[in-house]
Amino acid sequence: MENKLVNIKVNGKKYKVAASSTILCACKGCGIDIPSLCYLEGVSSEAACSMCLVEVKGAKTLVRACVMNVSENMEIFTKTQRVNNARRINLELILANHPLDCASCDKDGDCRLQDLAGEFGIKKSRYFSRDKIFGKKQNTAWQANPFIHLDPDKCIQCGCCINSCKHEAVQEAISFSGRGYRQKVSTPFSVPLEQTNCQFCGVCVQVCPVGALVEKPRIGKGKLKDFISTDTICAYCGVGCNIILYKDIRNNLVMSKGIANKKINNRRLCVKGRFGYEYADSPDRLTTPLIKENGKFRKAAWKEALSYTARKLSKIKAKYGPDAIGVLGSSRCTNEDNYLIQKFARAVIQTNNVDNCARLCHSSTVAGLGKAFGAGAATNSISDIEDADVIFIIGSNMAETHPVIAQIVKEHKKNNNPKIIVCDPRYVQMAQVADIFIQQFPGTDVALLNGIMKLIIDKHLDNRKFINAHTQGVNEFKKVVNKYDLKKVSRTTGVQPCRIEAAADIIGQAKNMMIFFTMGITQHTTGVDNVLSIANLALLTGNIGRRGAGVMPLRGQANVQGSCDLGALPNVFPGYQKVQDPDVIKKFQDAWGVELSAKVGLPVSEFAEESIKGNLKAVYIMGENPLMTEADINKTRYAYKKLEFLAIQSIFLSETAQMADVIFPAASAYEKEGTFTNTDRTVQLLRPAKQMPKGAKFDWQIVSDLSTAMGYPMLYKNSTQIADEIAQLTPSYAGIHHYRLQKEGIQWPCIDDKHTGTLFLYKDAAFKKPNKKAQFSAISYKQANELPDKKYPFILTTGRILYHFHSGNETRRVKVLDKFVPRNYVEIHPEDARKLKLKHNEMANVSTRRGSIKLTVRISERPKKGVIFIPFHFKEAAANVLTNSALDPVSKIPEYKVCAACIKPLKKKRR
């Protein structure tokens, strides 16, 4: 139906266009421009602005081209006197109430109304301006927030903002209030915007055709024509949103916009993508290498710092052997950077002690999914969401961690009403749109999943055909699962049986189910078990290997996927080629021209332990901040202090950098060229949106220079060269070159230069396993490493919030974000708070066996009773002081999500 063509006539000329298109789209395709102020591509149009009017033969009135579909033999006229007249009058009517202060308007030059007024040659409307009915009261709803500014006088009530909020952000935070000429864009009951469910994603600002809505940070910074724009990739989470960044003539970033890439974000951004670019221009940026002498840093020349580091590392390598050195790559750095850092570790240091922060987030996934299916990556594409009829979200607060994917899921829910099941110890935002919300205790996911799977088996909803044809190990699996009867599961997880049953029904009957999970699943001592259970569920119901059916671990940082793909892991070379495999070793030895170690290296989570034991003597870090992100920071700090040498490439003087012996100033993600691989395996090109500060260098340059200084010359001229080398050595990246990525990204595996990438893995259930069969695992529920007791009666769980990112080094330096959420807090259930006499917004002390922090209390019904939640972005009260560093035996991931804690109100000091 979509491809059916119809004949139409536009202004007397014949055309053939798609039957499903609107007149506006069809005409656009034919090269005929129809003006519009309220048309939002891809979103149902408000049909309000009356600018796209055209004459259609046979229609009584003029027709809105934006909503009327073409039909066979339709005759359309876009330029008649009648059309022109109507458009002109409507334009004048709009202009009558629109201030003509273009000279001082931030949107001057970026205003569709201005363009149209120019096109029609209207200098001043013939109509009178109506009394300004909007008083100051209206403004208050928009005044307090630091992100979005509304000038109601400029609003032309096209409804773009409301429509985009409704259909793209799917928040419905704003709406029209009033009727007729009293109509205005408002929040429910005119409460301040921050009290609505507005997430400040700013899509409303982006679609506003006039200067009514502007980003507050850009006000007064100039006009679009003064800016230089760059299409690049957002450097925060793993969604990989395509953005346009604008810099002003002073090389400062001033604005960002989402690109309408339908496969990824399609114009959407989150608050960080929209407003979080400011850190790149921070005065805190490092601009010169620093060397620590007598506990104090001094500025050093690049040459000196490089040779100093080379000397130190060589000495340690010579003294203790290569395995006494650990190297950290970074998920915030490009594929090229990570490739080089692991090459540096393996070829220069000659150790496999190379890892990256993916260890701390998705190592369980890589291990678990690898075991079950053969590869650890997300099986499907983001764009598959629209094909799923059941969406199962477990252990993922995606509305805050991957806001854009959450928006896509919500849009799908709104349009096609798939069933959504959300399992989370907290009442996360997605629970609002869920059909079933399950609030299990932290760390009981295996029990919950096994319980669900038992019900599915009992109800004969399991996909036997699929299981028999494409899996193995089902019998052992069933034996274990059979022990998880509903009552027991309910008791363990704290979830009402009816909810588990309902979830099982929905999952069992799903045609296409997509499972989303993040740290709630992986950051446990049972992380791999959790992931395997999820894999079991996908296999049991046959939900894998199709569009819209699969397992989607959502990656937390811009390039987690890529840094793993490119081998910044202790056990694999780029492309997950095992270090123990002699063929692989040979291949890389040939390529790199040095002997390589076949011994699996240390994961980052064991660096501290090994340092304490005295086995690890030096660490070289590229762009990471383990002293904020490792569990049990106090212990980590102690361990890193013990090191003989610590060097770091960083953009800020982070907590870790402060402990380093040498610091190399690096370029930020907005200044780099290279590639990021996002959560659905799309490799996308990053372009420099601004120049890096004088004195800083690209990460790959620093690594190259250091290698060269250590006697292994790396003479890359640019990242493209590195990418080509990656393609040579990495089968799944074999066809990925920068020149192919100019327009849009490619999803790996991409096996050669002609291959267009892979939308979903395991087509026809061909798993990357011997005999192509997926593996069921028999998983029993194990308790978390540390459980509440009398002294520490609460389960503490940690996580990310929307407005900040990880160690906070970037977002805390973005004024608007830091202003909005300036300090850390602990969320606690009202009943618990009452018992402990905790008051909202007052200070409390939270402590665990490992330490204690002071922070604000936020009483909220989001956590389950007995559970408290603390975000981990704030160095003033770092959550990881508290967390347990116990590791998953397989993936070596610490148990961030569960530990025992106690909370006490902090007595106010009497003065």
Partner: protein, 1051 residues
């Protein structure tokens, strides 16, 4: 309680029939909202109390509305085997008498004023009910004017059955159609019937219902909805409310049949929350139907399931639009959505949905019961069936009327509506509420159906019909409706949201006298653009009231803009008081009344004279439009403003103070300007123009064909109405200002117009309309046939008539009356023949009365066809044709139609006074543009003719009209001619402002209107003494304090 088969249904029918036609008397009170508003519930309780107290066995019930709103409360009474009697305007006072009559069985003894009609047999269409025959003296319902043209299909049960009793509905044949459909017909057969009926949606747009149902039926979905749109929001429309209030089950049955045909399982009635009674009765009806299992699961054991819910609308007009209505039900703001997809494809909750108006649903059971073909017989070819209209506004019989489509507006307004309620001319009818338009009188012969109304720029809408008379300002009407649509616009489309607002702004400025010349064009431009570029019906039709008034009443807009005048006296900022506004000369009437009360008679006279240089004349013969607009009429009668005005001038004349005042005027006139102006004609228009022009300092010469000044005042108005001494005195006063008169010079004959043009800076032509119309009758040239004017010219002075001669006067205007009365005074007998009815006579009503008193014999509805010769070339008799009243003409009067009946009246003389026209020869000769070869064509607002320099005013523009109008033209011409040479603001300087008390009486003062004394008939009928004697001093005092001082603003 479940009705599962036909016998059960019939059992309930019997039960219901026993309630409708009980063995004891049945008294049913009409308890619609309008009935209750007029006290029906008090009447009901009064009946209840007395029946109980007196222990009279009678069945007291409620009914809905029978439609005659003007006569509420209605009560219908049934005595076994006798016709149903409908009583009107029943109050609690009447109840005991009615009960006595009911008790005695003598219904015809109820006072005749209370009996509206009787019903012997009633066709409910789904069933017929025979009540009984009797009471021959009471008219049958379909013989009364209000009901005669009506046909009750939709309202078949309204006002007859108890809306709260399902049994009575079943008794009237209710739910039989549903039974038939559910048990026998296949869904597509229902739709076939509907298509055969050609029923069109009654919500206003008129989409064929059968087609709409078919679309919904064809749509594939797991669930379908049907919706009844009862969000009736048009100002002045209340059909749907009454329909639901009076007969809720008809709606349910219609919806049930629809649901069955379309495969819907759920129905929603979207009804305004402002209709609590309708909602209450609907709820009762739904509960009753559910109780009988007519709603719900497995209806009539057929497996068909359907239920209905009520959704109350929150009062947004735009929610009457179907997509907004759906949005509203879904819980969103009532904002329309683009179509397609149409609701029949994707409607409520994205399921196929059919929406019909209340009235559409009401038609369904009848179409099923009687068949589509039967239905299609009513109405016109493309618009079948009937339509219920709520007839309101300035007509006598307001009410809810149901008429076959295609009935003409005339029938609706005059036959049913009884014409104007205040005896004024109906000017327009507004149909379709804010989306509709104003249809002017000229188009009243239009048949009311979807297409013809659309052709006139109006729409049928939901059927509101508001009659407007000359007291309605069409600009104000447009403003009212645009104000409504502006505030009801949802705000989505720019064109509607901003455009209507701008239109309103422009209209508001016009009503305040701040309009600009380009405004009319702008309104049109804007209106068309709004229509063309709005998404939903509200915007697409919102400008209709503006566009139609602009089209048909543009002069009213121009009057507001050019002259800052609102003739209807509605736009308050444009006038001082209604009397001042209605006076063509804009005399400040409250001022001179107040000045007189303050004992400042001279000032009062001065106040009069500066607006009106012929106060004595107009004080006697003005047609006093002021009095017809006097607000005192709302209390008792109008203030006698003409008589007050006459009294003041007479007082001054008696005291001879006028000379001094005119001397002062002469002294105070503006310095000589050196401009020479010719005034042609010394009638009231010419004299007035000269009066002002001279005072402005111009040199004025009046050219008059006659030997003396005065024009028609002098020539035709008999002295018993206007004493000649007075006329001469006033002319002399004016002449005394320094005006040159040239008598006996006829322009175009004695002096060429071109010469005048050359010699003067401006020429004002005010030659009047003096050429008599002729009938071209056989025998018109006989001796003894005179023209009215010619007769009157001589009548006062020479005895052309013989004692006891029999004179026939033909005509109905003032000249005819004057001729007849003059004839009487000359000793003759006078018979006046007029072709229409007495009410239609253009002559002054008071004059007609006086003529009757004096002995003039009137013969109406007759017109001469031949004047018969006595063989000597002299008149012997007149042969007359009997006329009959036909349809209505543009003036709202019935057109006389000749019958074949003729008769003769013998007489000695015949005076033809059928009117005068302008002698247009002079125009033709001089190449001046004319209107229809008759009157002179001038610009309405500048009085300028097609030739530069030449202006005109008075009867020469209008044909025979009033003195005041002619003088007004003179006054206006003076102002405009002065502006031609001089700067602005000079004219205003001629007017002296008097200070007087600006206090309005808190309570109305004075007694009822004083009537001036007239001479006794015997004292006047043989002479030419003035008949009316004016007020006495005491009368004058009473009359002046009666003024309500509408000119006092603010406070």
């Amino acid at each position: 309680m479940k009705i599962s088969n036909l016998s059960a249904l019939n059992a309930y029918k019997e039960k219901g029939l026993k309630k409708l036609k009980p063995r004891i008397p049945r008294i049913a009170v009409g308890m619609g909202t309008c009935g209750i508003g007029n006290g029906a519930d008090k009447v009901y309780h009064c009946f209840k109390k007395i029946l109980k107290n007196k222990k009279i066995k009678a069945y007291l019930s409620k009914t809905g509305c029978f439609g005659f709103c003007a006569k509420e409360p209605l009560v219908n009474i049934y005595l076994p085997h006798k016709p149903l009697i409908i009583l009107h305007s029943v109050s609690t006072k009447d109840v005991p008498e009615i009960i006595n009559c009911v008790k005695s069985g003598n219904l015809n003894k109820i006072s005749k004023e209370k009996i509206l009609c009787k019903i012997e047999k009633w066709d409910h269409l789904t069933e017929q009910i025979f009540y009984g025959r009797n009471f021959p003296e009471i008219p049958a319902w379909d013989k009364t004017p209000f009901f005669k043209s009506q046909k009750k299909i939709v309202l078949r049960n309204c006002g007859l059955i108890n809306p709260e009793d399902i049994d009575e509905y079943i008794a009237a044949g209710g739910y039989q159609a549903l039974y038939k459909v559910v048990k026998q017909a296949l869904p597509h057969k229902v739709i076939q019937q509907l298509k055969a009926s050609k029923l069109r949606g009654r919500g206003g747009a008129g989409f064929p219902t059968g087609r709409k149902w078919e679309l919904t039926k064809q749509a594939k979905a797991d669930q379908k909805f049907i919706i009844c749109n009862a969000d009736e929001g048009d100002p002045g429309a209340y059909m749907n409310r009454n329909e639901i209030e009076s007969d809720p089950h008809s709606l349910l049955e219609g919806m049930l049949i629809g649901a069955y045909a379309m495969g819907a399982t759920e129905g929603i009635i979207y009804v305004r929350a402002e209709y609590p009674l309708a909602i209450g009765r609907l709820k009762t009806a739904i509960a009753a139907a559910r109780n009988y299992k007519i709603l719900g699961e497995n209806i009539f054991n057929s497996g068909f399931c359907f239920d209905v819910n009520i959704v109350e609308g929150a009062g947004a007009f735009v929610c009457g639009e179907e997509t907004s209505l759906i949005a509203s039900i879904e819980g969103f703001a009532g904002r329309p959505r683009p179509r397609p997809p149409f609701p029949s494809q994707k409607g409520l909750w994205t399921k196929p949905t059919n929406i019909n108006n209340v009235e559409t649903w009401f038609n369904i059971p009848v179409i099923i019961a009687r068949g589509g073909k039967w239905f299609a017989k009513t109405g016109s070819a493309s618009s079948t069936g009937t339509k219920v209209f709520s007839l309101v506004g300035k007509i006598q019989n307001t009410g809810l009327v149901e008429l076959p489509l295609g009935t003409s507006l005339e029938t609706i307004i005059y036959d049913i509506g009884g014409g104007s309620s205040l005896g004024k001319k109906i000017k327009a009818v507004q149909t379709g509420g804010p989306s509709g338009g104003c249809i002017p009188r000229e188009f009243f012969s239009t048949a009311v159906d979807y297409e013809s109304l659309a052709r006139l720029g109006a729409i049928m809408g939901s059927g509101g019909m508001v009659a407007m008379d000359e007291d309605n300002c069409m600009v104000d009407v447009a403003q009212y409706f645009v104000e409504f649509t502006t505030s009801e616009s949802c705000g989505k489309c720019v064109s509607c949201r901003e455009g209507l607002y701008q239109a309103l702004g422009i209209i508001k400025a016009v009503t305040k006298g701040q309009g600009k010349l380009k405004d009319i064009e702008e309104l049109e431009r804007l209106g068309l653009a709004i229509k063309d570029s709005s998404l939903c019906g509200l915007g697409q039709t919102g400008p209709n009231p503006v566009l139609t008034t602009l089209c048909y009443f543009q002069d009213e807009y121009k009057e507001h803009i050019y002259e800052q005048r609102c003739a209807a006296g509605i736009c308050e900022s444009l006038f001082l008081s209604p009397c001042e506004n209605s006076c063509p000369l804009h005399m400040n009437i409250p001022a001179f009344i107040q000045l007189f009360r303050e004992k400042r008679t001279e000032d009062a006279f001065w106040q009069i004279i500066q607006d009106n240089p012929l106060p004595g004349v107009t004080g006697r013969i003005c047609h006093h439009p002021c009095e017809s607009r006097c607000r005192r009429m709302d209390i008792d009668q109008a203030v006698g403003q003409r008589e007050i005005h006459r009294y003041i001038s007479d007082t001054i004349y008696k005291q001879n103070k006028d000379k001094l005042i005119f001397k002062t005027l002469r002294k105070k006139r503006q310095p000589e300007t050196g401009k020479k102006i010719a005034v042609v004609g010394a009638g009231p228009a010419g004299l007035t123009a000269a009066f002002y022009l001279r005072r402005l300092g111009h040199k004025v010469t009046i050219y008059e064909a006659q030997a003396q000044a005065g024009g028609m005042l002098q020539l035709t108005i008999p002295a018993y109405r206007l004493p000649r001494i007075l006329l001469k005195r006033e002319i002399k006063n004016i002449a005394g200002l320094g005006i040159k008169f040239v008598f006996n010079k006829k322009i175009g004959v004695d002096i060429p117009l071109k010469k005048l043009e050359k010699q003067h800076d401006a020429v004002f032509i005010a030659i009047g309309a003096q050429k008599e119309l002729i009938l071209k009758l056989p025998g018109e040239n006989l001796k003894g046939v005179l023209s009215g004017v010619a007769f009157l010219e001589k009548g006062g002075f020479s005895k052309t008539l013989m004692q006891d001669e029999k004179i026939v006067v033909i005509g109905g205007g003032n000249v005819a009356i004057d001729a007849a009365r003059t004839a009487l005074r000359s000793g003759a007998k006078a018979i006046l023949i007029y072709r229409r009815q007495e009410n239609d006579m253009p002559a002054d009503k008071q004059e007609i009365e006086e003529a009757k008193k004096e002995g003039v014999v009137f013969e109406f509805l007759a017109t001469p066809c031949k004047i018969i010769d006595n063989g000597k070339g002299q008149v012997q008799a007149v042969e007359l044709v009997r006329m009959e009243s036909g349809g209505f003409d543009v003036s709202g009067r019935r057109i006389p139609v000749p019958t074949d009946k003729t008769f003769r009246v013998s007489c000695d003389k015949v005076i033809l006074a059928i009117g005068e026209r302008v002698d247009s020869q002079i125009f033709k000769k001089n190449g001046l543009a004319q209107v229809k070869n008759n009157t002179l064509k001038v610009d309405k607002f500048t009085l300028k003719s097609s030739r530069e320099k030449i202006y005109a005013g008075g009867d020469v523009l209008t044909g025979p009209a009033t003195v005041a109008q002619a003088m007004a033209d003179g006054k206006k011409a003076a102002k405009i001619i002065d502006l031609r040479f001089m700067r602005k603001g000079r004219f205003e300087k001629l007017f002296k402002a008097f200070k007087f008390k600006q206090i309005a009486p808190v309570e109305p003062q004075g007694k009822s209107r004083s009537l001036p004394r007239t001479l006794l008939v015997k004292d006047r009928v043989k002479n030419f003494k003035e008949v009316a004697c004016g007020f006495s001093k005491a009368q004058m005092e009473n009359e002046t304090i009666r003024c309500l001082r509408c000119d006092v603003k603010g406070a």
